[in-house]
Symmetry: C2
Subunit: 199 residues, 2 copies
Amino acid sequence: MQYYPPSLVRLIKGLAKLPGIGEKTATRLALHILRSSHEDAKRLSESILEVKGKVRFCSKCFGLADTDPCRLCVNPNRDTTIICVIEQPSDLVALEKSGAFKGLYHVLHGALSPMNGIGPNDLKIKELMARVSNGKIEELVIATNTNVEGEATASYLAQILKAHPVRVTRIASGVPMGSDLKYLDEVTINRAMERRQDL
Amino acid sequence: MQYYPPSLVRLIKGLAKLPGIGEKTATRLALHILRSSHEDAKRLSESILEVKGKVRFCSKCFGLADTDPCRLCVNPNRDTTIICVIEQPSDLVALEKSGAFKGLYHVLHGALSPMNGIGPNDLKIKELMARVSNGKIEELVIATNTNVEGEATASYLAQILKAHPVRVTRIASGVPMGSDLKYLDEVTINRAMERRQDL
């Protein structure tokens, strides 16, 4: 790498800090940027600064936003009586893509994980409780992941919300659509059997 | 993607233009940049502009450089009587890393490829001839790749350089060091057998 001009080496080092990008890939990307048009490079450079300058967390739902409250929170077409609780902003995008949910969101920014020292105070749980206490919320759909941390977080939320007159639900778990039972893990099959429904 | 804030979407689109980076990876990188420190993001943004502004091709060897002539061309410790002819600036880096060559370089910026419409005029061959004609060059080592295009380029160069009183050599081809014959392709084994040497 030290055989490239110093400014190119600086770019390679910067790119190599990104996740999943090693020195070889960073070199390939840097050489591509070098060959790309001045306009493309300028646009990429500016959009990095723009993202850092503009994108914040919405003060209501803690999703990513460049306005506050975010466009979802102020959208008059959304059902404001139901909140879907998720772990990460990327989960919000997955749910929106599916079109399955028309209410508001609340991003916890993580899940309970005592092993990693993540307790309730490290998540946006206080803020969720405040939204619930403000009334008007009729249902909370807990859509944390279905791994150990996500399940623990769901149980914890269900427990502390017992005192509130709000309906707390959990997204269904079971066999994913379009899948082949023989390739499925045992935990999922057990869960699907346990929660079988009348046809 | 349209569920992310517009400025984040712009960054994702910019990153997705890089080679080998699809929309999913671009999203992951953009979210990482969003989470990284302001300083890191600023440095990355600036180094993109810096590379585009500073890095040029050396007017002598056509390698990448932010000075002209490049540091290699003006280095008094290099042997100025021998030039190694290569296809790309990245080949220069590979050769420098190996420490095998102490002369000057000449980057052709490609190889002859009639199928892709790349002829002698699309490469830095005229410039190479000018360097050879200026005298003082005693040997040209053709180190183009050993694929069809690279071999064709080497033959072409050997042919047009016949008229010049310069020694033209080609890097050796054969079995790579540390390799296992049973996994090697037939063309390489044939070549290695053809060019066997006395021990």
